[in-house]
């Protein structure tokens, strides 16, 4: 039922010009009106849901992503109880406007800073402002809190007084960061999400090696997702083939074994794997009691990458089996038989005749599994230990623990961008309509 065959233009073209409806209107116009009426009616049916999704899903995510470029940590302070907003760092921001990047901060700059520190002290915003600077220059937070604590006692010459507190106040990099932060909009969180920063002159450079995390985590997420996708493919192909070639009564029974995990709570499945894979767990116990392993040589399969890999492969396996099965079921067995009768070995017949016909199913399954794996959170959090964490876990960490919400948003935006790209690809190659659930 493609749209083209029923489009008004196509239909109208086939109509002779002079035809009219019973009430004398040209048939062409009446048809167009009827068509647009039908279109409107169809759209009205979808509209409530579309509005709902836009409101409860698209908008919140958009609003969150806005934080990735917008941070008022160094520009505004909002009192949590009264909601009163105070402009902070106003003097310094003015100095930055008047002097361009690279200007040596002199007494005027430090006097502005000292005045701002007094405000920070008054509204208790030193921690907030320091934290904002600390996002880009580690070690800055304590400089702000210390300086603000002594702000009232600072006297001219301010440069000397402030540098006396901490030599680092002279660091040109610090001044570059403060300059960037004195505007509420910045792209620096995207740089941070890619392990990049700016140097004192504003050039993009990699961050110090012992602080590089995110690129590595993106790579690990991609790598683990590829491995998981591949493992689900290896495991799904044989059983999908078996299910597709068995008589329907039998295959329906076996299909339950695939669908039951699909219907079982994710937390239940993750718990089960913890029970199985712990070093004192069922699998290790069985291996030790059968003498395959020595008691002090138990396998480490939990709280590391192995745990994440095994549990996620299991959890995502049904998403690979189902599309493969739906492609394999209609394949006519007589093709393979024909190949065999023409002299092909069973391997050649499989490779040249059967396998190519299953490629669309592999593509659909692999894309789906990969998309789902890249965004996984719960399973790595519970069984991943330190090195089995994925990018989602880091987003959660910055959301809940470090509270660097702008960085969390930037990481989320990068992840979401990648996923939407794959989703678009999936729609082009497979078609969302072909998504099946059992």
């Amino acid at each position: 039922m493609s749209d083209a065959t029923l489009s008004p233009a196509a239909m109208a073209d086939t109509m002779p010009e002079q035809l009219t409806t019973a009430d004398g209107k040209p048939l062409k116009q009446a048809l167009i009106r009827a068509q647009s009426h039908a279109r409107r009616r169809a759209f009205l049916l979808v509209a409530p849901l579309l509005a709902f999704i836009l409101l409860t899903f698209v908008m919140p995510i958009g609003q969150m992503l806005h934080r990735s470029v917008h941070n008022e940590g160094f520009t505004w302070h909002e009192d949590v109880a009264s909601g009163e907003r105070t402009r902070i760092m106003a003097n310094l921001s003015q100095w930055f406007d008047q002097n361009e990047l690279g200007t040596e901060p002199g007494e005027a700059a430090f006097a502005a800073l000292a005045a701002d520190l007094v405000v920070l002290r008054e509204v208790k915003a030193a921690g907030q402002a320091g934290t904002r600077i600390n996002y880009e220059r580690s070690g800055s937070r304590s400089m702000f809190t210390k300086a603000a604590r002594r702000a009232q006692r600072l006297e001219a010459p301010f440069k000397e007084a402030i540098v006396d507190l901490d030599e680092d106040w002279l660091d040109p990099d610090l001044w570059r960061v403060m300059r960037d932060a004195s505007s509420s909009y910045t792209a620096n969180f995207y740089l941070a999400a890619l392990d990049r920063t700016k140097d004192a002159d504003g050039n993009v450079t990699p961050v110090n090696e012992n602080r590089q995390v995110y690129v590595k985590l993106f790579q690990r997420t991609l790598f683990l997702s590829i491995v998981i996708t591949f493992m689900t493919f290896i495991l799904a192909y044989p059983i999908a083939h078996l299910l597709a070639t068995l008589p329907l009564a039998k295959s329906n029974l076996l299909m339950i074994l695939v669908l039951l995990p699909f219907w079982t709570s994710l937390l239940v499945r993750t718990t089960s794997w913890m029970v199985l894979l712990q070093s004192q767990g069922v699998v290790n116990d069985a291996l030790v009691s059968t003498g395959i392993l020595a008691d002090d040589n138990r396998l480490e399969m939990m709280y590391n990458q192995a745990g994440t890999l095994i549990a996620m492969t299991h959890i995502l396996l049904p998403f690979m089996v189902l599309p493969l099965y739906s492609v394999m079921r209609p394949i006519n067995p007589s093709y393979v038989r024909a190949a065999r009768s023409l002299g092909a070995t069973s391997w050649t017949a499989f490779r040249r005749v059967y396998f190519p016909q299953t490629v669309p199913g592999i593509g659909a399954g692999a894309l789906l599994v990969f998309i789902l794996a890249v965004g996984y959170y719960i399973t790595p959090a519970l069984v991943g230990g330190a090195d089995g964490q994925l990018i989602s876990n880091l987003i959660a960490f910055h959301m809940q623990n470090s509270l660097n919400w702008s960085l969390a948003a930037a990481l989320a935006a990068l992840l979401l961008g990648g996923i939407l790209l794959l989703y678009w690809l999936y729609d082009r190659l497979v078609g969302i309509d072909n998504l099946k659930l059992g």
Binding site: A126, G385, A386
Partner: protein
């Protein structure tokens, strides 16, 4: 317009306050510790005032507080947090100030300010216990019992997995002490970049053998299940697992790190008044002593000390299990809250980068 909004906000909060006045939400650390507070504070408080206590747990209550207050969505009335977190949150204006005059005097009339031990009373926080981070081992899984903090980081002497709290605080100090830094110099060393590098170098050596824990209830469990041979832990949790549940666990006091836990009220707490009443009630001499009969943490009032005697099992003497007992203070470190107030963000950032690599 602004006035109107403010009025409306006040009206709404009062309305909400009126509806839920008979309930206070208290967030603590879970497990045996929460249980000790429920027994010693919550139940008697509800009995006396009729106000219901909703007890919720977190791995570290300081983190949800900050998120809630900054997002303007506060549902916690009272939280139990560590010393440096209490000071830091207060500095940032995320906590309500506590009027210390609401705290009752000791039974002998000593005013609260003199009765609480030094540092236990802050602008926004009132301490309830002194606790410590120690390390413990399972006597059934270790042939050569560890005695010093260096043993914890020595995988040749004692092979096997170690449990460590997934946080820079306490972990870095312990690593330095294991590396031979005297307890009085730990924070001076850690204040330098070389000191931090040195601590991470110690951790590097055992990185592959670490199981990280986040909730205080995990270490006793990991030890009892044999998932780790040794683990850092909050001393009271090990005590409860060893005495109340008869697990074969032993505490090593060498290199212990002492700290306060304090009650705080997040800014904008929905039931602020009742929250303050709860804090005043819970930190009186008798309640603090009562808590110490449920878990081996020292009360924050001097006057409570004499009332602490026997564990709730009716036979175990509490005194030798307290982190402040003379015999346990041989090589002890007192957590430097000022250091962590300033450095927490930075060191945890480095710590997390180290973890992920």
């Amino acid at each position: 317009m602004k006035v109107k909004t403010a009025l409306l906000a006040t009206a709404l909060t009062t309305a909400a306050g009126a509806t839920f006045a008979q309930e206070v939400t208290v967030m603590s650390w879970g497990g045996a510790y929460t249980k000790s507070q429920v027994e010693a504070y919550h139940k008697p408080f509800t009995e006396e005032t009729g106000i219901k206590i909703v007890s919720v747990d977190a791995g570290n209550p300081a983190t949800p507080i900050k998120a809630q207050v900054e997002a303007g969505n506060v549902s916690i009335d009272v939280a139990d947090v560590e010393f440096s977190d209490a000071v830091r949150l207060c500095d940032e204006g995320l906590l309500e100030e506590i009027d210390l005059s609401i705290l009752p005097s000791a039974p002998d009339g000593t005013p609260a300010e003199d009765d609480f031990i030094d540092g236990a009373l802050q602008d926004c926080a009132v301490a309830n216990i002194v606790w410590s981070t120690v390390f413990a081992y399972n006597t059934e899984n270790v042939s050569d019992a560890p005695t010093t903090i260096s043993d914890f980081f020595d995988t040749t002497k004692i092979p096997g997995k170690r449990g460590l709290r997934k946080s820079a605080k306490a972990t870095l100090e312990m690593a330095l002490m294991a590396d031979g830094v005297a307890s009085e110099e730990v924070y001076d060393v850690l204040d330098t970049d070389e000191g931090v590098d040195r601590a991470f170098a110690v951790l590097d050596k055992i990185k592959d053998d670490i199981v990280w824990w986040e909730a205080g209830a995990q270490p006793p469990q990991l030890l009892a299940d044999g998932e780790v041979v040794m683990s850092t832990a909050y001393n009271g949790r090990i005590f409860n697992a060893a005495i109340a549940e008869s697990q074969p666990l032993e505490v090593v006091w060498d290199g212990q790190i002492l700290d306060f836990d304090l009650f705080v009220v997040p800014k904008g707490a929905p039931n602020k008044e009742a929250a303050m009443d709860f804090i005043a009630f819970s930190t009186d001499t008798q309640r603090l002593a009562d808590q110490a009969s449920w878990i081996s943490y020292g009360p924050a009032r001097k006057s409570s000390g004499d009332l602490v005697g026997i564990f709730s099992d009716g036979s175990t003497e509490m005194a030798p299990h307290m982190p402040t007992a003379e015999a346990n203070l041989g090589n002890a470190l007192v957590n430097d809250f000022e250091f962590w107030v300033d450095k927490d963000t930075e060191l945890n950032e480095r710590f997390n980068a180290w973890l992920a690599n």
